[in-house]
């Protein structure tokens, strides 16, 4: 029973990992671009939710979409302001730009909101469910399932809709896509909007349960890297599976080996996977 409890907790957290990592994997796979500021997008999503609650006493149904929209705007701003010109440069300039961006965003939040930890007051989502002997926190349950559903929705959007397949076409072969009349610029902007928006939603979902401060993005950023490489660059289903798997590994190793070993377990496994299957779980060879 305890084992089941541990597994459920790990999977629910893993689903949220999957959601914010899927945005990163999209950009990575599509543009071969590492965004070091992705964790900061998640952090901004948390503060967007915080502001909504503080000023408008908004509930989750209001602050989650607002966080998504706010981050879509941030994503577009970042794409058109910085990324579009940097992506043609060397890889190092890309790393440099998003790292500078990460510092800038983190400390803008610091400047505005101070370094203090904040947490959202209890929302309509509260309480604990007892299902067959295990206890599940309602916000966590809603957060995890929403995140999983949105990740799957993103996958469906990419594979089943016109805009999505155009986006993938650009990822596959930019030149060929241009010949087909697709404008890569718009598709890449769309990818950034989706990536930042999903990070924003993930942030808002996490904010319901967890206290946060401006420096929290670092943790999520690193987690997202591992999830993305694990799942395979550019693969949203890969990110989903890897996210769930990492949530699970963390929970199990924290329980059986002790919490300080949970990240060790994740990195060790990650390195092992790179060794055996460098393209990741679902990546193309």
């Amino acid at each position: 029973m305890i084992l089941l409890q541990v597994i459920v907790g790990g999977l629910l957290l893993g689903a949220i990992y999957a959601l914010f990592s899927s945005g990163l994997t999209l950009i990575w796979g599509m543009m071969n671009f590492i965004n070091f500021a992705h964790g900061e997008f998640v952090m901004l999503g948390m503060y967007a939710a915080f502001v909504m609650v503080l000023w408008f006493h908004a509930g989750p149904l209001a602050f989650i979409p607002v966080a998504a929209l706010a981050l879509v705007a941030v994503g577009l701003l970042v794409y058109f302001g910085v990324i579009r010109s940097v992506m043609r440069g060397p890889m190092l300039a890309q790393i440099l730009s998003t790292f500078g961006l990460a510092l800038l965003l983190r400390y803008l939040a610091f400047w505005i909101f101070s370094a203090n930890f904040v947490s959202l007051p209890p929302t309509a989502l509260r309480g604990t469910l007892r299902i067959g002997g295990i206890l599940i926190d309602v916000p966590q349950l809603v957060g995890g399932t929403t995140a999983a559903a949105l990740t799957i929705a993103m996958h469906l959007f990419l594979t089943r809709t016109r805009a999505g397949s155009q986006l993938l076409a650009v990822a596959e072969d930019r030149a060929a896509a241009m010949l087909m009349g697709i404008r890569p610029d718009r598709m890449q902007a769309l990818a950034w909007a989706i990536a930042a928006g999903s990070a924003g939603i993930a942030g808002a979902l996490i904010a319901i349960t967890y206290p946060f401060s401006p420096s929290i993005g670092e943790v999520f950023g690193l987690t997202a890297f591992v999830v993305v490489t694990f799942g395979g660059f550019g693969s949203v289903p890969g990110a989903l599976i890897a996210g769930l798997l990492i949530g699970l590994i963390q929970a199990l190793s924290a329980f059986y080996l002790g919490p300080i070993y949970k990240d060790i377990a994740v990195y060790a496994l990650f390195i092992a996977v790179l060794w055996v299957r460098p393209q990741g779980l679902m990546g193309k060879a």
Partner: protein, 416 residues
């Protein structure tokens, strides 16, 4: 040619850096090293506000603060009313930067005393600089036991250290057992950076010495976003007291997760830090009723000196003074007392005055038995209260003479 231009640029940069370091006459300069950005920024910022309150108390006449030395006069009387001037620097939690800034404070800003540095890592490196230059360094907060005991002559620490806390806990458990409470075993849950590790180690050692079984010790990383596995382990081991040595987000997370997993041990004892963070009570006050915490600080009743100090702090920050910042405030006040007695800004005189410090309980704002340094520079009269969360605030419950309300044990009777 390229080199020439760069050299010139460098010189220019140097000149610019030198600009703000102009001297103000007659003031006693205290260089304060804190993490004002980075992961520990919240603590550094709070401590900065506390230091400014201490500066206000010393520099301006505050006759309403009874008992506090130097409160009723403006400035340091023995030095012709000289004011305290604080020079804050941000070491960002980086030990190498702390070293560099200590150098800057000593050689550029010409401060007379150093104060800091929160993270033990930064205290290690910056105190070594002060030692080399023969400038007194007062540690306001860092609790790692091995900071003192390095043979340093210029190091003074007002705050109690990890071993003090650990012994206080053991005495508390003894008292409780005498009152018939059952404490068969304890659990130690500590975050795994220097703070949690050193306090956790000290408690484990003290428990061993006192034959108190440790059912389980769980070190964890404070950046965890899920702690249910740890809570389940605790539930499994059924300790009578769980001691948490945690930072802010993780202490809140633990309380929430314990609630969600329907687990309430007979007693939760927080080791200050996260449990004292002003965010803690608003976030989980309703579900953490009865949680105990270590603190040397008690706001006290309206009208009391401590209450008034808290009001000063609150006017500045909008928050209550927490224990960590209060210990820094006390450190500053104790330092000011020594500076006044030194009557001079000569390092040797300040050092001598610090050594001769002997503050009585009624002269201090904290729950220490006084301030008096041993040969290693450690305040041997530092001690702590235990407080318990009742309603919207913590109330002192131990030791008995400091208690304002009886202890509630187990913490929550409804469940369990």
């Amino acid at each position: 040619m390229r080199g020439n231009r760069l050299a010139r640029l460098l010189l220019l940069a140097g000149a610019l850096m030198a600009a703000p370091l102009a001297q103000a006459a007659d003031a006693v300069k205290i260089g304060i090293l804190w993490p004002l950005t980075g992961n520990a920024a919240a603590a550094g910022q709070a401590a900065k506000a506390a230091a400014e309150v201490a500066q206000d108390i010393v520099n301006n006449a505050h006759p309403e603060l009874k008992g506090i030395p130097l409160a009723d006069t403006a400035g340091l009387p023995n030095m012709g009313g000289a004011k305290l001037e604080l020079v804050f620097v941000d070491h960002q939690g980086n030990p190498s930067l702390a070293q560099q800034l200590a150098l800057r404070l000593i050689t550029q800003d010409k401060v007379h005393v150093l104060f800091g540095a929160y993270q033990s890592s930064c205290s290690f490196t910056s105190t070594a600089v002060a030692e080399r230059y023969g400038i007194p360094f007062v540690i306001g907060d860092s609790a790692a036991s091995n900071l003192t005991g390095r043979g340093f002559k210029w190091l003074f620490r007002v705050t109690p250290i990890a071993t003090d806390f650990a012994e206080a806990y053991m005495r508390f458990f003894d008292d409780m057992k005498k009152q018939g409470k059952s404490i068969r075993s304890i659990a130690i849950v500590n975050e795994n950076t220097d703070y949690g590790t050193s306090v956790g180690d000290a408690i484990e050692a003290a428990a061993k010495k006192n034959n108190m079984p440790v059912a389980i010790r769980i070190p964890y990383s404070a950046s965890s976003s899920d702690v249910s596995a740890q809570v389940l382990q605790l539930r499994d081991k059924q300790p009578d007291v769980v001691i948490f040595i945690s930072y802010t987000s993780d202490s809140i997370l633990y309380m929430r997760t314990m609630r969600n997993l329907d687990y309430v041990p007979p007693m939760v004892l927080g080791d200050d830090s996260g449990f004292s963070d002003p965010s803690f009570i608003p976030a989980v006050g309703d579900i953490a009723q009865g949680v105990m915490n270590r603190s040397s600080w008690d706001i006290g009743k309206p009208g009391s000196t401590t209450y008034k100090i808290n009001e000063m702090y609150k006017a500045k920050t909008g928050r209550d003074l927490d224990d960590t910042s209060a210990r820094n405030l006390q450190g500053m006040l104790a330092l000011a007392d020594a500076l006044n007695r030194a009557g001079s800004t000569e390092p040797e005189k300040i050092q001598k005055a610090l050594r001769e410090t002997d503050l009585k309980p009624e002269q201090i704002m904290m729950g220490y038995r006084g301030v008096k340094y041993d040969e290693t520079g450690q305040n041997v009269l530092a001690s702590t209260y235990l407080i318990q969360l009742k309603g919207k605030q913590y109330e002192p419950v131990w030791p008995e003479k400091a208690a304002t309300t009886p202890i509630q044990w187990p913490m929550q009777t409804a469940k369990h």
